[in-house]
């Protein structure tokens, strides 16, 4: 396994009076796509939000490239090179597609070559460049959300359930985009419920249950072992998808 770029050790986090994370230990290897799996309510989204500093860590440490980033303000964490695509995509619906992208390019004007690459990945963004992002379809919004995260090179992408509620054809397009990111050895931590999608893309995997990581290893190991899938992800999830 490659050296890890992000590591969580014993991370506990609360939302209001509820304990959501009970000591999460997670290593994200550099240059790989890691899939974070688990049932609804296992704490996957909270884990991503905690890495971004959007949920307060009550105990434990989050380290990014060896540096302790626990408790740092969200903008500072983002500027270290972590991009976050939340479950609701978080696009600014009143802004145009262009304006959404302008804000995402924090370091200044967008690099035209990189923008062309993004347009190649997601052609609808070019078509609707000056339209309000709120008028995009669900799939196009997801494309915009991911495009924002990659318009400038980032060390780590955190992506929360990009396939949720999307049609199979669009999921296929998204998978193609992630394949390209993998080829460029961009580090991705992907929360996903769709096991086929995860199996196709994931290099390493971690499974969460009840606020902790209960299994982690290579994706192939999990994909080839039906019993393990049953045990970790519930009955027959693999077959149903």
């Amino acid at each position: 396994m490659a050296e890890s770029i992000l590591s969580l050790s014993g991370v506990r986090a609360d939302i209001d009076q509820y304990h959501i994370l009970h000591g999460v230990d997670l290593e994200v290897p550099a240059g790989e796509l890691t899939v974070l799996l688990g049932r609804n309510g296992a704490g996957k989204s909270t884990t991503l939000r905690t890495i971004m500093g959007l949920t307060t860590v009550t105990q434990g440490k989050v380290r990014f490239r060896g540096e302790d980033i626990t408790g740092q303000p969200t903008p500072r964490i983002a500027r270290k090179g972590i991009a976050f695509v939340p479950e609701n995509m978080g696009i600014f619906s009143l802004l145009t597609v262009r304006e959404n992208m302008v804000l995402a390019a924090v370091d200044g004007p967008m690099d035209p070559a990189r923008l062309d690459w993004v347009f190649d990945l997601f052609p609808p963004l070019k078509k609707f460049w000056n339209r309000a992002a709120g008028n995009l379809s669900g799939g196009q919004k997801q494309m915009l959300a991911i495009a924002r995260a990659i318009i400038e090179p980032r060390e780590l992408l955190l992506v929360d359930e990009p396939t949720k509620g999307l049609a199979p054809a669009i999921i296929n397009d998204l998978a193609g985009a992630f394949e390209q990111l993998k080829q460029q050895q961009v580090t991705v931590l992907l929360v996903e419920q769709n096991f086929n999608f995860s199996r196709r893309l994931g290099q390493s995997a971690a499974v969460m249950n009840d606020g902790g990581v209960v299994w982690s290893g290579q994706m192939t190991e999990l994909a080839d072992n039906d019993d393990l899938q049953h045990e970790l992800l519930g009955l027959g999830l693999g077959e149903h998808q």
């Binding site: 959007l54 903008p75 978080g90 804000l103």
Partner: protein
């Protein structure tokens, strides 16, 4: 056109005169209401009086816009209810008036150029003093109460009382007369040859207020629509969290907007001082009623809505004040009630509920 069609944005153009009229009313409610109000007023009075009142109403609207624009941004972007906004208006008025008195030699010359040597420093000083107070006020008073409206109301009302008492300490408790610069007194006479409106006397100061108000509206619109800071402000109105996730420090943006809003309140206050030619520490409180009506009427967080709201408030004040002076006091609030019954979200809402 229903709200549902608007969201899809692909509705077919309406057919027929009535349908087009309905579409205009729903899509451009601010222009519809403005034209309606001006037309009704024109039917009820002599055209010469109407021109006079309309210009005066626009002037009042321009000044109220300056005062209200800062508050609509702090409310829309930061979700902060700053009831001390009126105190910034008062402070701007006193700061501007002090400079005018100090430079009264320049202000009393008949030449506009020499007058400007007093007016520009006065307006600039009002802007800077109110802006600086805004900086201190945000750090000391607003920062600890982000996200809690009840506390915001309590501490900002308290802050407002302190600022107004400090004005009493510095400038004394009495009303202060403000010398209006010489070149801004008097009026332009429209040439008699003009049909219908010939011979109407338009006060110079009001025309200048309209021009300045329009210029600042234009500048603000440009900043909001075209610059990166403007995009950030609009993004922040929608989701503070996502602005931070992109790597921007929204607290810094809040501070900047608060200071700019306070400075604009100060500028509006200084202009109001020259308009009324007399100021008191509590003038800001009196103006706050108009300011609050304007930001609710226009739609919270919308600069464009704020501008049209201010113009509507200015016009209805002048029209009703002429037609039925006893109703002038309730006209502003009546306008707000009427608009909210028609469009509860305000004329041009930024925050989609």
């Amino acid at each position: 056109m229903s709200a549902h069609d608007e969201m899809i944005g692909q509705a077919t153009p309406p057919q027929g005169v009535l349908a087009r009229f309905a579409a205009f009313r729903e899509n451009k409610p601010h222009i519809f209401l403005l034209l309606l109000m001006m037309a009704v007023a024109l039917l009820m009075m002599d055209p010469r009086t109407w021109v006079l009142l309309t210009i005066s109403g626009l002037a009042m609207g321009a000044m109220v816009f300056l005062m209200a624009s800062g508050m609509t941004l702090t409310f829309g972007l930061m979700n902060v209810l700053n009831l001390a906004h009126g105190a910034f208006i008062s402070l701007g008025a006193f700061a501007g008036a002090s400079v005018l008195v100090w430079l009264s030699a320049q202000a009393s010359e008949p030449s506009l150029l020499i007058n400007l040597a007093a007016i520009l420093p006065a307006l600039g000083f009002a802007l800077v003093v109110a802006g600086l107070l805004g900086l201190v006020f945000e750090r000391l008073v607003i920062k600890p109460v982000y996200g809690d409206h009840l506390k915001q109301i309590l501490v900002t009302v308290g802050g407002s009382i302190i600022i107004m008492e400090l004005i009493h300490v510095v400038w004394g408790p009495n009303e202060i007369p403000v010398p209006r610069p010489e070149a801004l007194t008097g009026a332009f006479l429209l040439p008699d040859a003009l049909p219908v409106i010939g011979g109407v006397a338009l006060e110079k100061y009001r025309l200048i207020a309209v021009v300045l108000g329009l210029a600042i509206y234009g500048l603000m619109t440009w900043i909001i629509e075209r610059t990166r800071v403007g995009i950030l402000i609009r993004a922040g109105v929608e989701s503070r969290e996502m602005v931070e996730v992109q790597g921007y420090r929204i607290r810094l943006l809040f501070l900047g907007v608060f200071v700019a809003g306070s400075a604009l309140a100060g500028l509006g206050g200084a202009m109001w001082a020259m308009y009324r030619e007399i100021i008191t520490a509590h003038m800001g409180d009196e103006l706050m009623i108009s300011v609050i009506v304007v930001i609710i009427l226009g739609g919270l967080g919308s600069i464009k809505g704020c501008f049209y709201g201010a113009v509507l408030v200015g016009l209805i004040n002048l029209y009703v004040g002429y037609l039925e002076p006893r109703l002038a006091a309730v006209a502003t609030v009546g306008l707000m009630v009427g608009v909210l019954m028609w469009r509860p979200q305000g004329l041009i809402p930024v925050i989609k509920v």
